[in-house]
Symmetry: C2
Subunit: 529 residues, 2 copies
Amino acid sequence: MSAPRLARLLSRRPLASRRSAPLPSFVRSTPSLSIRHGSHLPPRSTQFTKPTQQHLDALKAISSSTLSTLDGSATEEELRSFNDDWMNKYHGKGSIVLKPKSTKEVGEIMKYCYENDLAVVPQGGNTGLVGGSNPVHDEIILNLSNLNQIRSFDEVSGVLVADGGVILEAADHFLAEKGFIFPLDLGAKGSCHIGGNVSTNAGGLRLLRYGSLHGSVLGLEVVLPDGRIWNGLSKLRKDNTGFDLKQLFIGSEGTIGIITAISILCPRRPSAMNVAVFSLESYEAVQKVYAEAKGHLGEILSAFEFFDKQSYALVKKHQEENGGERKVFETEGDFYCLIETGGSNSEHDEAKLTGLLEHLMENEMVLDGVLAQDSTQFQSLWSLRELVPESAGKAGSVYKYDVSVPVGKMYGLVEKMRAKLRDGGVLEGDGKAEGPIRAVAGYGHMGDGNLHINIVANKYTDEVEKIIEPYIYEIVAENEGSISAEHGLGVMKAPYIGYSKNETSVELMKQIKQLFDPKGLLNPYKYIV
Amino acid sequence: MSAPRLARLLSRRPLASRRSAPLPSFVRSTPSLSIRHGSHLPPRSTQFTKPTQQHLDALKAISSSTLSTLDGSATEEELRSFNDDWMNKYHGKGSIVLKPKSTKEVGEIMKYCYENDLAVVPQGGNTGLVGGSNPVHDEIILNLSNLNQIRSFDEVSGVLVADGGVILEAADHFLAEKGFIFPLDLGAKGSCHIGGNVSTNAGGLRLLRYGSLHGSVLGLEVVLPDGRIWNGLSKLRKDNTGFDLKQLFIGSEGTIGIITAISILCPRRPSAMNVAVFSLESYEAVQKVYAEAKGHLGEILSAFEFFDKQSYALVKKHQEENGGERKVFETEGDFYCLIETGGSNSEHDEAKLTGLLEHLMENEMVLDGVLAQDSTQFQSLWSLRELVPESAGKAGSVYKYDVSVPVGKMYGLVEKMRAKLRDGGVLEGDGKAEGPIRAVAGYGHMGDGNLHINIVANKYTDEVEKIIEPYIYEIVAENEGSISAEHGLGVMKAPYIGYSKNETSVELMKQIKQLFDPKGLLNPYKYIV
């Protein structure tokens, strides 16, 4: 390995050429090309009452903020951001949006809806990828954005109690000022709600370090389908008094209750953070570097992300179009990985990281690498990974899959998917005429065995969807994986749960849904159907 | 602060005088003085069939190992260790003990019991403290000790899959050889089963570092009350496909299913570990040291335990009686705390710990302290804290309470309890004539807000119990605490759940119990009643 590359990785001098303005962490993508999608969507249930002006009048007396096409207080266009998902893939036809300002209001709304057989879809930041937070038909939209207050924070224990509608980034900024960190981070942090994060059991970028929300959430306040308010807002780290009910709501995607507040254990914010990005020859090399990173960095390893050259090409194109930076690596590779450390002692952390970098270079385990020299570069390097989904969205209509399989088998799924699309005659060849599929990009959270496959198409078509699904779920099931690692089932994957869960599981789930929501009014047509 | 104390803490020389043979980590205590206890135990339910010779014959055809007084294959005395709890506080009258050797056998047993209305108590290591794992009346005892195989371990992901009856220490020894650690440690490790740990959501000594089992358990295999086998033995770190059913079984104390296998994420074993114990003037000083430890040690802090002088006196007495070591501290205090670090780099860890120790001494925040110089001392210092419950057991019959409240209010509960017993005229005074209560010791897991109160009596009496209960639950409820932080409800605390959980919670719990176990056959009379 040549000396310059060693120097490049280990030097602490600011590299002016690589410095750039911070990139937006998340921007709502609204591709202009899109068609009405989802031919397999279930028909409207006749069990639910159709919302009318009379219902709206009654709800207006309860909810402090309403929007509706029924009374002309909003146009169909104005309701679009509530009815559509951000990918513009799923389109509801709700005529009533309620934005209650208190848990009590949420309870009264649900009581009224329950008594009147009105179906309801709870909505947080509407940043999901499986059509879980917008209506399928004419469900009433219960948007939680007005429930957005921090309720309390205890600096001794690190326990934060906050409304479900608080935006993730706002919660983290609040905590940063106190020297703490929200134990979850993800690309949509600028829009998503913490209540939505919990209801979908979001995983994100630092699960490797801070673990699952099933471990860090201490309590919840939930409005049940019949309008009862369940106060399970414990601040205790340990509490073994009966079934841990809150766990059922974590990841239940708003089907058995509406999370109006959460209590969560927040760790101290690391005082020292570092990030490095590497180009590598192969997926095998990524796995080897992951093993070395765990060994050298131990308890300070806070993220290990990977992305392929197709992902990186999408990001470069997007950055070019926005006048951002161009050349990061002197030698590019077929794969890239990002390593973040977070610890309490910068000197110790740098020593550990330097030890790793020296080891990787001496053993020629990476092609090239860049270590952030300051906070701007820290953001800039992270954006190489964080911009993948947005860049894909800018390049076309994206079929997004989120699966987990054993780490060693992860990238094989991307290769199988490419072969399947090539065999189906829809994958655009290098330099050939334009086909429906422009790119198949694989990236994700190495430490969690969580792979994201983004299939970028000209537009959403049933032809392409039929090539992808259920094939993708079949190859996940073959590897004993999960068809939804972190994005949830929503309406998109509800029909496919059998690929990941056995009959007994599904039967028990249906019984639990029936127990909590006997009328099936909450977030219908989704999750467990 | 004088130089010698500084030197004493910071020197790395072996301190021969303090070296001693490792102490047993856990010994079953069987106090000779004990009376039939628990006047509030519920009467036998007439809904359950009384086990007969005919049932035994049928079960012998299913279960590969049975013990019974009905066919003379065992005497009442031989069944005592299955019928009694280890404190000799709760005494069942079961006549049949089954020790199945496979999940299939467990399923067949439950199917038979379900069809014949026979009540069953699942039993792991029977090390619990709330009478949860032995019969209340004549329930059939389903002991899992023959289900004791490691099924698989993946060195890349750290995922262990093992039978529920594997002993915790055995699982940890297995993992230690691979460079991994079981993410749970507790005093009863030499006897307790990992299935029992999960079914009671055990917390233990390193929850501060490795978090709750709700975060680390990835999957379960459970035999349902009707004999169906639920295979939820996922090895995936992320899996958002429907309700996270396994969470319901974690901490359900064997009331809705029998855990026959677990899949759990195990971290790498720290390559460097240190432990230090301090004597302190006051509980306020303990809290200050805790804050400093979090700041200086950050991510390597793996345990922060505290115990009071009454706890330490019990341990010293027990060690004296066993010819163990005597003098640890030159200056003793009213309080003690133990700090453990676990990290990947001994040089860095020692630097962090030295920084803390210097800070504590320069600011006179501790009276005295000892830092383990080798692995023997590491064990020996840990035993000062780990031996508290055993030492209390040797000193008499112990009323054990396990609660969680905010850290600042924790020790106030011990003081209130002492005052209550003094007022009730049952607390032995210093140097005075022998009273029913010999000591009230407080200790626990500072980092988790988890306090253990051990009230050592001559013998268990209803008079004393009435002074303690429900007073202790009342003062916990006043502080919005939990009446069971980690030990569970069992039969002991089942009547008191209302002190920690509201009506809606209890109603939902009863519905869940009804859903899974409509006949109420599994571990009856306990938990949710």
